[in-house]
Assembly symmetry: C2
Homo-oligomer: 366 residues x 2
């Protein structure tokens, strides 16, 4: 044989080729583009690889081909349930493909994001998934100069770098408020935490809906930069109540806050929905099972991640999607917590959750 085995005893492509009786480059092609091989050689290489337990050396491949099979993913938080659903979608879509996921956490800092982006780009990723549309100018320039497909996720907006998949947080918030108005609520408070750009846009949607109805008042809005939590929901609601005792509804920027508000109402013996209606955001699983069941705006997080990764992989392989910007929309899932107070819709004391009425609203992005 030409070369002796490496000392580590690892199987190299050359060994596979030798056993299959083909040249190394032919063996290489088997992994890269099997259709290019004759059926005979294809099966020979295949069985040789299997017999030897060959596993390709990714570093060598990356070095020789000048590209990696890595998809970089930049998300702002690892803790947030929302992102774990998105991530699960991304990982699921990448499974079975040749691409592996490289995850980094920007911790909601666009400066950190810029730094990570620089790092990622230097390794020539096959593709990139970034969260949101609020990059720094520098990041934006890097993304535009990158010679790989890019998907922005979580929201839709103007000027996509490349592809984009999400929904309009602004419209979703407006739909939630419209629902509350339809239930006869007028004094609708807003409770928000962390106040990242997407929560900010939900707030903007809330403000515009309230202003349209001539009902906006600054004191109805309680926010904090603190990371969100159930406990925080209770605390912010307490604040809100102190400012506006006549409150008849609360729109929470996420479901954890909504749950906190619900518990706080229970603690204070405030009837939900009789006195106060509660609407959350994201429709996490527990919302349907709370007592009373909690209204929320359903967002397609898993699907978003999965579609983003699928689109990205397609684009990497040269098949660009016909619609590079995808609006996944949202749905207001009406449940007991926001029923009209006139209707006799007390929390069911036995039996399962009430059936969900849905108000489907594919969000239109501006």
């Amino acid at each position: 044989m030409g070369r002796k085995r490496t000392k580590s005893g690892k199987i190299r492509l050359a060994e596979v080729a030798e056993l299959a009786g083909v040249s190394p480059i032919t063996a290489s092609r088997f992994f890269r583009n099997p259709e290019a091989l004759s059926v005979a050689k294809r099966t020979r290489v295949e069985s040789a690889a299997k017999e030897l337990g060959y596993v390709p050396n990714l570093a060598a491949r990356a070095l020789a081909s000048q590209r990696t099979e890595v998809i970089g993913v930049l998300i702002p938080s690892l803790t947030n349930n929302v992102f774990s659903d998105v991530l699960r979608g991304i990982y699921d879509a990448s499974e079975g493909s040749r691409y592996s996921i490289q995850l980094s956490n920007t911790r909601y800092s666009i400066l950190q994001e810029e730094k990570l982006l620089r790092l990622f780009l230097a390794q020539k990723p096959a593709g990139l998934i970034v969260t949101g549309i609020d990059q720094t100018a520098e990041s934006r320039a890097m993304l535009e100069a990158a010679d790989c497909p890019i998907v922005q996720i979580m929201e839709v907006g103007p000027n996509p770098v490349d592809m984009m998949i999400g929904f309009s947080h602004y419209d979703a918030a407006r739909a939630a408020i419209a629902h509350l108005f339809a239930q006869g609520r007028r004094k609708v408070g807003f409770v928000g935490a962390r106040m990242d750009p997407r929560v900010q846009r939900r707030l903007d949607g809330y403000v515009s809906a309230m202003k349209d109805a001539g009902l906006f008042e600054q004191r109805l809005v309680v926010t904090t930069a603190t990371p969100t939590s159930v406990t925080l929901g209770g605390a912010l609601f307490t604040d809100l109540l102190a400012r506006e005792p006549d409150l008849d509804a609360v729109f929470c920027a996420n479901d954890d806050l909504a749950l906190g508000v619900l518990f706080e109402c229970r603690r204070r013996e405030i009837g939900v929905p009789e006195q106060i209606a509660i609407v959350g955001f994201n429709d996490l699983e527990f919302m349907a099972s709370a007592v009373p069941t909690l209204t929320s705006v359903r967002t397609n997080r898993y699907e978003m991640g999965k579609t983003a990764a699928t689109m990205l992989i397609e684009a990497i392989e040269g098949r660009r999607p016909e619609h590079p910007v995808l609006d996944l929309g949202f749905k207001v899932i009406e449940r007991q917590s926001s029923s009209s107070r006139l209707s006799d819709n007390r929390p069911a004391l036995s039996g399962g959750a009430a059936p969900n009425k849905m108000v489907a609203l594919p969000s239109s992005h501006d």
Copy 2:
């Protein structure tokens, strides 16, 4: 110049070396082991690298050095809150180090784990973090043959492959049951979902504690292989109640189930803790803010991840920890949901959460 720039315009180590007036290998050493250079060259290389914006090519480095700077992490689920906390710890610890995290999801399948392990090992990772102690024999053999440090996380047990960090789920469950006994509860049910090995060991702990007290009955145990959820907690509890209407406490294998049980009690107008005590597991954030506040077994998930990654990195760099097996213990956080029914400890209807009493129990691993 010896070689011309690559077409991609990327800065290579050779360019840095040229600008600094040293050989490529000296420049290389600057990144690998700066102390080996004279101060003069060190600063020259440093400024040259900065001036050119040099970013090393990881693929080339990996190929040449026969090792990567990747830490492989195998976890069973991306959805589970528990793992997102652990992951956050791992990512936090890896930040600032030279190592990057490569995450894979085994979906609670040890066969899938074995497959992924094979994939990982072929890339010669710098280190590995695997979940639990229940690998297949094949996986176990691969791990033992691997020439990199390995940390098993989430639990402690006999025969660590290398390092190990976690706690005893068995002891934790026993402590939870002991707490319920101390509150005068006797008919304690068990509610569990997914039934992965760690949940199974919690069940084992429950069973042994109940048997020790002569109170064990098979019908007190309700489990399912279905993934856990809040809604499922309610359903399993409904089952349990049908089997044993005289139930006076429920030990839930996790907090989501506990929340579901709480909601179901509310739906059925069952007093908590007057009629039924509830104890959860993990002490997620919402437990302290529920009404009534929910007792749970606190586990140090973030710390576990962080310490695991820190230990691993230390070991990779040749500094093996003095204690390769670390038991992080647990604490039973007593809250309203499991107060003695004799005491007048109704759920506080106003004011914040009750102060937490803690029962600290560093778990002893068998």
